[in-house]
């Protein structure tokens, strides 16, 4: 669920989705679901010579299982937060008392992300 929550924070940002067939689609992320299916708006294909029929398609639903990479704007990713969050899990118990400021901040963000 971590990456689902992560992608939810990226909604309304421009992303480039690279599919397993090397097709690259740029668009504004509109929605993501638990399977990491994506809904993109205002799409454009980097190789529109090969896929001319996509010119008349404006919003696209992409099934998560066909996605290889999602290229993001580095400014929209907080790597430290993501790394810390990925270490959390049922096996990880955060210190309950006297937690440093950084941790409470992380906790706040994680609570907000609803992880």
């Amino acid at each position: 669920m971590l990456f689902f929550s992560f992608f939810k924070t990226l909604v309304d940002q421009e992303v480039t989705v690279e599919l397993k067939n090397d097709m690259e689609i740029k668009g504004v992320l509109k929605s993501v679901d638990q399977y990491l299916n994506l809904k993109l708006d205002n799409i454009s294909c980097t190789n529109d010579v090969k896929y001319p029929h996509l010119n008349s398609v404006k919003n696209l639903f992409i099934r998560g299982s066909t996605v290889r990479y999602i290229h993001l704007n580095p400014n929209s990713v907080d790597c430290t937060l993501l790394q810390d969050a990925s270490r959390r899990g049922p096996w990880f118990k955060p210190p309950s008392k006297g937690c440093p400021l950084a941790h409470t901040k992380l906790q706040c963000i994680i609570d907000r992300l609803n992880i």
Binding site: F4, K30, S31, D33, N37, I43, K50, N59, F61, R63
Partner: protein, 166 residues
Amino acid sequence: MSAPNSRSISDGSSNAEDLYLEAYAFTTAAALVGSVDRKIFLLLRDGRNLFGVLRTFDQFANLVLQDTTERIYLDAEGSKSLEKPARFGETYRGVFMVRGENVVMMGAVDIDHEDEHLEVLQNIPFEAAEAELKAIQRERVQAEKQKTKSLLSRGLINDFTKSDLY
């Protein structure tokens, strides 16, 4: 697209989406509900391009399409690649029920512009196009088989399955 038409399309979808999004934000259903009863483009994992009216769907992206046409794009005659379409063939297929796992992507088509790219392409009979595409795909599967073999001999894995020809 003419301006009033584009407004009606986006208005319609946003209303339906808003309705759903309140209760089901960030679900497959919320992403697809705006395309219901619209003409959509659907790419399947076996490489088929389908154009039809989306009638219903579920949380796995199982879809039902009505009045579907299948279209095959091919490069100029004699070319063995699929990089720059120069010809196309299409045929009427009727109703399609697609299992979600076979979906690669789908999106609502702008019906005022959908045929624009076809004007520069040559229309050929569907059967001929299908035969030609099958031959290209057969060759691709053969080539990938070779690649898998040689990669495997070096302890590497080729990420290719015969059913993924999109």
